[in-house]
Symmetry: C2
Subunit: 225 residues, 2 copies
Amino acid sequence: MTHVKAPTTQEVVLRHLRADILTGVLPPGQQIIQESLASRYGVSRAPLREAMRVLEGEGQIIHLPHRGYFVAELDLVNMREVYRLREILESEAIRAAIPNLTDADIQAIAAMADEVGSAAASGELLAIALANRRFHFMIFEASQMPRLIRILTQLWDATDVYRSVYFSAHGSLQIIAHEHAGILDALRARDVPQAIGWQDTHRDHALISIAHQLDTLRRPVVTDR
Amino acid sequence: MTHVKAPTTQEVVLRHLRADILTGVLPPGQQIIQESLASRYGVSRAPLREAMRVLEGEGQIIHLPHRGYFVAELDLVNMREVYRLREILESEAIRAAIPNLTDADIQAIAAMADEVGSAAASGELLAIALANRRFHFMIFEASQMPRLIRILTQLWDATDVYRSVYFSAHGSLQIIAHEHAGILDALRARDVPQAIGWQDTHRDHALISIAHQLDTLRRPVVTDR
DNA sequence: AAATAGCAGATTGGATCCAAAAAGTCGCGG
DNA sequence: CCGCGACTTTTTGGATCCAATCTGCTATTT
């Protein structure tokens, strides 16, 4: 039998960090003071630093030698690059996935789409984000391309903070449901171009909303000191 | 002028690790005993572990909790995935780069192609690999897409070990020189499809050679379990 | 004799401690 | 009044030390 679990501290810290970045506890641009954060998590600096190295590799935080770690800020240019790369890579993922999709797979994906719907009904942003992510990645994972999936994971992670605002935008949930249904139909028909097309419009809607937010909101990142 | 430099130990270790993996001092599949490697580098385990976390993020080594770090092995399937992703992403890089290329850029790239040639004449494999990499990445960098460049860097890193054998294959250096010239011509003409085409055949030649090596050589990798 | 429990060694994970570098502060001189 | 420079403080980087876990072997039991 396999072990129940052995959650190493680094992974606990890593999850905690991701959550804090995602929820804005650690806002973009802010420096991460290792000592204070470590004590806040109730751990030492060693596992924290290794976790931060992981996030740095994903581009979530920036490291300046002898200066420290800072939560990455994404400007619009950067954001557009991420979305362009997603466009290219997600198209490939869908292209590779569709021939592998069994009927059972599609049923599972449809079930996840329903979960997105019920999460949307509940209004819990985090639940929506999680279910939405699962929905899309169930498709990507059928591509059987682990490296591609990992890169996509990183790209999604990088924009998680900004994407969550999209879910709270007016009317976005109906649009999302509609587009998810479109993707599902294309999957059932094994229609690669149509699936990619739906995914593209789906992504574009999110980007437009986010770009609008970034452009107008112009968050005034205060340095608390 | 900026500071001379302040090379932090982690980066020294990281470079050392990359070199050792590239040159086969640390062969694929082998476990990395932290204590012994750290003492061999003359450092403590702390910076070594942070460096390994970086390499793990790049897929160069694998981490199993409470078991250790192991140098990653790439089978042919994995290798094909890397090359497929390179095909997609390098096409995008070239597409984005060409409109940005100044004449000075192209001259610099041509100079680097010459360096590949002279390195080839000298027969130094490492020098060839380095110059070749610089040549291609000078083009990619003109894309002005930092995230794309970083992903491409990781993909190149992942296959560095295997690609170096290609340089020593019979006749490959002439082919490389020919294809580099082709790429340069396409760049001068600002011909995107042609540049991508050359890059594709260039990459395919390397992949065929590497796949052949992997297939026949059938290295007797001991099963670590 | 085979299987399993448990003991000993090795190896990783985490915490504390010390050194080095950067940022901020105060004071002196122009 | 302002700029420059040494000193202090804060924070990061690295090393050492201790605890938790895994591996391999041995002995005991059936």
